[in-house]
């Protein structure tokens, strides 16, 4: 009993935490609360980021558009400026002469030309130098006189400038200045419209730099810049890199734009270490450069990141709440279960009074209730069984004591009684000397009482044997019922001496011999007949017997006092005497119960018919050949 109980306890205690309700519920709650939240937050923030990125891209596009327009406008200024210079017909006239026939110009005229060309540079910061070259590519006039006489034949703009009226040379390297140079050219024609030379202006890139570095609504991390196709060098200063530090600037956007593409994207910029940026890029053909407008991604993501942080905090809070909720709920669920488990363990350890509190109306409450009522039932049964066992044990003990007592009684009482009876007979018979009438009468009383006492003892002994189931039948095969009845008749005759009773018999002549214990059957019949004699003052006692269908029916009827209906029930119960019996006195009240027990043990029946004041009839039937009767030990 105790072995499985402690094993159950051990199992109950060793449930690993991850299988416990509490842990599972907490996880379940947290996951249930946090995952949808995280999912929603993720989607929400993705959308926010998308929106923010799109917003920024749109902004950058419009800035790029603006810058492109500004650049176009700025470049057109150059051509326009050249037009204006050449629209001065006096100047142009002199210029043509300087190109075609420099020898015919006066010193004054040459000085005027030089002064004019210099004043153009001074009055027009757009250009840093003007040169005029002839069709052979030799500079005939320059705002910087040192350049006069130089050859432009190997310069990239030379051939195009001869082939079109006006030309803009994208940034290139001029050997004498290592900076990238931008040149606008315009052909010079004589009065006959014949091209004689070219006016070229080297454009000052400072203004372009100003255009590009102007923020125009860009945030602090934003910038626009131009990267030349020439070695991927910056054409205009970058806000975040040293313009003077010539080096190649590369990024996905720059590379794409330099391949002539336009677009936008999220990529790493040119910086070292590279910064994640959102940018738009386009190819500016006139400058052979990539225009890039970009802002640091961090700037764009600030809002969404803040939201992300907020969401994370909320998710954490919800997670904690969910965990607490899970814990509380788990406690609500598991504490009654734990109590129930404890109660069950206690119960199984033998504490039958153990009950568990019913704290809720839910299924667990129901379970607790069921457990309690089960426990009550089990307790009751066990208590009953225990009581019954105790009773049985006590009864058994008492029975044994009684049997032992009776066994000794039968010996210890019968021996002196027999001695009393026998010696009284000797005395009464006068064997020990003469006795008078009165003495004989008294001695007869002694004998009578002693004999009664002996009978009583025998009856009690029989009864106790019967009750203990220790009665042993000495079954014989051929018991002659007729001779038994005759023996009973003689006993009856002795009992009715002095009474006005007529003894009648009606015994069928063909009574079969039966299988029975001769002595016991005789005892039964004697008992019945004795009773009949006893309770009949005067009248008829009739003994009849017949054989009917494998049974022998024997009946003893009298015309005695009869037994009332109440008492009829008591006749066969031990130690219960009928009112008549009690009145009559004497007797043990065991005769009839013993008779019934003996008949029963022969598988026969015994019953009575009686009317108070008219008499009684006792019937006994016995089977003729009952093979189930075990013969006595040989």
């Amino acid at each position: 009993m105790s072995q499985p109980a402690s094993a159950t306890l051990a199992i109950a205690r060793s449930i690993p935490f991850w299988r416990r309700f509490r842990f599972n519920l907490i996880i379940f709650f947290v996951v249930l609360a946090v995952v949808p939240l995280a999912l929603i937050s993720f989607i929400n923030i993705s959308q926010q980021i998308d929106q923010a990125q799109n917003r920024v891209k749109e902004q950058l596009q419009s800035i790029a558009e603006l810058k492109t327009n500004q650049i176009d406008l700025w470049l057109r200024q150059g051509t326009l400026a050249l037009d204006i210079i050449l629209s001065n017909s006096r100047f142009e006239q002199l210029l043509v002469t300087r190109i075609i026939e420099p020898g015919i110009l006066s010193a004054t005229q040459n000085t005027t030309l030089t002064r004019d060309v210099r004043s153009f540079v001074q009055s027009n910061p757009y250009f840093r130098e003007f040169i005029v070259y002839n069709l052979e590519g030799i500079i005939v006039l320059a705002s910087n006189p040192a350049d006069e006489g130089k050859f432009v034949t190997l310069q990239p703009y030379f051939t195009p400038s001869l082939n079109s009226r006006e030309y803009l040379q994208p940034p290139f390297y001029d050997l004498s200045t290592t900076d990238l140079t931008l040149v606008a050219t315009k052909q010079i024609a004589n009065t006959g419209g014949q091209i004689v030379g070219v006016l070229a202006g080297k454009i000052n890139l400072t203004v372009l730099g100003d255009i590009m570095t102007e923020r125009t609504g860009l945030s602090d991390s934003g910038e626009t810049y131009l990267v030349s196709r020439q070695n991927n060098y910056l054409l205009t200063p970058s806000l975040f890199a040293n313009y003077q530090s010539q080096r190649a600037y590369r990024s996905e956007a720059i590379n794409r734009a330099l391949q002539g593409e336009s677009g936008d994207g999220i990529y790493s910029n040119y910086q070292t270490p590279a910064q994640p940026v959102i940018g738009v890029y386009r190819w500016i053909p006139s400058l052979e450069a990539a225009l890039v407008a970009e802002v640091n991604q961090d700037q764009v993501l600030t809002g969404p990141r803040q939201a992300q942080l907020n969401n994370a905090v909320i998710a954490l809070a919800v997670g904690v709440l969910a965990a607490v909720g899970g814990l509380l709920y788990a406690n609500r669920l598991s504490s009654p279960i734990a109590k129930l488990t404890d109660a069950a363990n206690q119960f199984s350890l033998g504490n039958l009074r153990q009950r568990t509190p019913v704290t809720s109306g839910n299924e667990i409450g129901q379970l607790a209730q069921s457990f309690n009522s089960m426990a009550t039932q089990v307790e009751l049964r066990i208590l009953e069984t225990q009581a019954a066992l105790e009773r049985a044990e006590r009864a058994d003990y008492a029975d044994k004591v009684k049997s032992a007592f009776l066994a000794s009684m039968s010996h210890e009482l019968r021996t002196p009684l027999n001695a009393v009876i026998n010696f009284t007979h000797f005395v009464a018979d006068g064997d020990t000397g003469p006795v008078n009438e009165e003495q004989v009468e008294l001695l007869s009383e002694v004998i009578k009482s002693a004999t009664h006492l002996l009978n009583l003892i025998n009856d009690v002994l029989d009864m106790s044997k019967i009750e203990a189931g220790a009665l042993v039948l000495f079954v014989e095969e051929d018991v002659d019922v007729t001779s038994l009845l005759k023996s009973v008749m003689s006993t009856a005759r002795s009992l009715i001496v002095g009474k006005k009773i007529t003894l009648e018999t009606d015994i069928a002549p063909d009574l079969p011999r039966i299988r029975a214990d001769r002595q016991r059957v005789l005892q039964v019949l004697t008992n019945i007949v004795s009773n009949a004699c006893k309770f009949t003052a005067a009248g008829v006692i009739k003994i009849s017997a017949k054989s009917v269908g494998g049974e022998v029916i024997m009946s003893v009827s009298d015309t005695g006092s009869g037994i009332d209906a109440e008492d009829q029930k008591l006749v066969f119960l031990p130690f219960r005497q009928t009112k008549a019996g009690l009145r009559q006195g004497g007797g043990t009240g065991l005769g009839m119960p013993i008779a019934k027990s003996l008949v029963d043990s022969h598988n026969g029946r015994i019953w009575l018919e009686s009317t108070l004041g008219e008499g009684s009839t006792f019937h006994v039937t016995l089977p003729v050949k009952d093979q189930s009767l075990q013969p006595a030990l040989a």
Partner: protein, 341 residues
């Protein structure tokens, strides 16, 4: 006994997967290691000591481009252990070096003299030759040289005469002296009015000394040529073209690095020649960029036009004979292969 819902497990693992995938980035695949092959030993005879001029060679070696190409290239400065200058054409013809660096003039002269050398690529695609004068002396253009003393060395002599000729200045009116002092001392001391120079070399020295100067770049006066071409023998050209191509590709890659990042190039040059001054080299590199990688060109590129011009100058100066075939002095085949022309 209540069982936890089975779905819970799946849900949890899904959630965990989801969270993991949110921050997960697959690791970059490890590039397969190439089985080591024995490197082919080659040598390149440079035309001067290590300076920024050879930054491409230096970068190719230091960045491992030669090794990647399966080459073990030995870069030899022009001055040997005894401080004696090693003439690259002689060394290459003698088989002492596989590649050499020389000017287009030297190469044409050598070839005219029957040496089997061929130019395969240019380092500077425009001539860096110039005349250097002090600011304030009024010497800014060729006509200003009349009556002045100019010291020039080697091919600059020819170039200067060509410049004077191109600008219509009588060369006899200029006192042209052979240069023996290769420093800028004669100029700064006022001993001479002008000295010849590379725009990629001397100006930075003067700038550093705080001396203002005028530059007369010969190329601006129609005089041009290749100051440093890479050449090989005809034998190498015929028998080891794949090595030539591999060497050029690696070297060009080195020059691209130098152009991309002049600061890195200057650092490398100083590593090769600790006597150099970083700031000077950086300036020189920046000045070199238009020569190394000019407008619309590629690194190493040569043009028949410039060869023709360079030849014409020599021919006019009667340095090479009139029947000299300049097209045999160079080959564009490697450049065409490398740049898919």
């Amino acid at each position: 006994m209540m069982k936890p819902p089975h779905g819970l497990k799946t849900f949890c693992s899904l959630a965990i997967l989801f969270l993991l995938s949110a921050c997960g980035a697959s690791p970059a695949p490890i590039p397969p290691t190439t089985s080591p092959k024995p490197l082919i030993p080659l040598s390149a005879q440079l035309s001067w000591e290590h300076t920024i001029e050879f930054s491409g060679f230096q970068a190719a070696e230091k960045e491992g481009y030669y090794t990647e190409a399966g080459l073990a290239v030995e870069l030899r400065p022009a001055f040997n252990a005894e401080g004696v200058i090693v003439e690259a054409i002689g060394a290459v013809v003698a088989g002492e070096a596989d590649f050499g660096v020389a000017s287009s003039d030297s190469l044409m002269v050598a070839r005219a003299a029957g040496q089997p050398v061929v130019a395969i690529a240019a380092i500077y695609q425009r001539s860096p030759n110039a005349l250097l004068s002090l600011a304030g002396t009024g010497v800014t253009r060729p006509s200003d040289l009349v009556g002045k003393t100019v010291t020039v060395s080697g091919a600059s002599n020819i170039y200067l005469r060509a410049v004077l000729k191109n600008t219509g200045v009588d060369e006899t009116s200029v006192n042209i002296v052979d240069r023996t002092d290769f420093s800028t001392g004669e100029l700064t001391s006022g001993a001479v009015d002008a000295i010849d120079a590379y725009i990629t070399n001397e100006p930075s020295t003067l700038e550093r000394e705080g001396i203002a100067y005028n530059l007369m770049v010969f190329a601006d006066f129609g005089v041009d040529g290749y100051a440093n071409i890479i050449f090989v023998t005809e034998d190498t050209l015929t028998n080891r073209p794949e090595l030539v191509e591999a060497f050029l590709r690696a070297t060009f890659k080195g020059y691209q690095i130098a152009v991309d990042d002049p600061e890195k190039a200057a650092t490398l040059s100083v590593e090769y020649n600790p006597a150099l001054i970083y700031d000077n080299e950086l300036t020189n590199m920046r000045v070199s960029v238009p020569l190394l990688h000019p407008n619309g060109s590629e690194i190493g590129m040569m043009t028949p036009t410039l060869w023709e011009l360079a030849y014409t100058i020599l021919r006019d100066a009667e340095i090479v004979p009139a029947d000299f075939d300049v097209t045999e002095a160079y080959t564009l085949s490697f450049l065409n292969i490398i740049y898919n022309r």
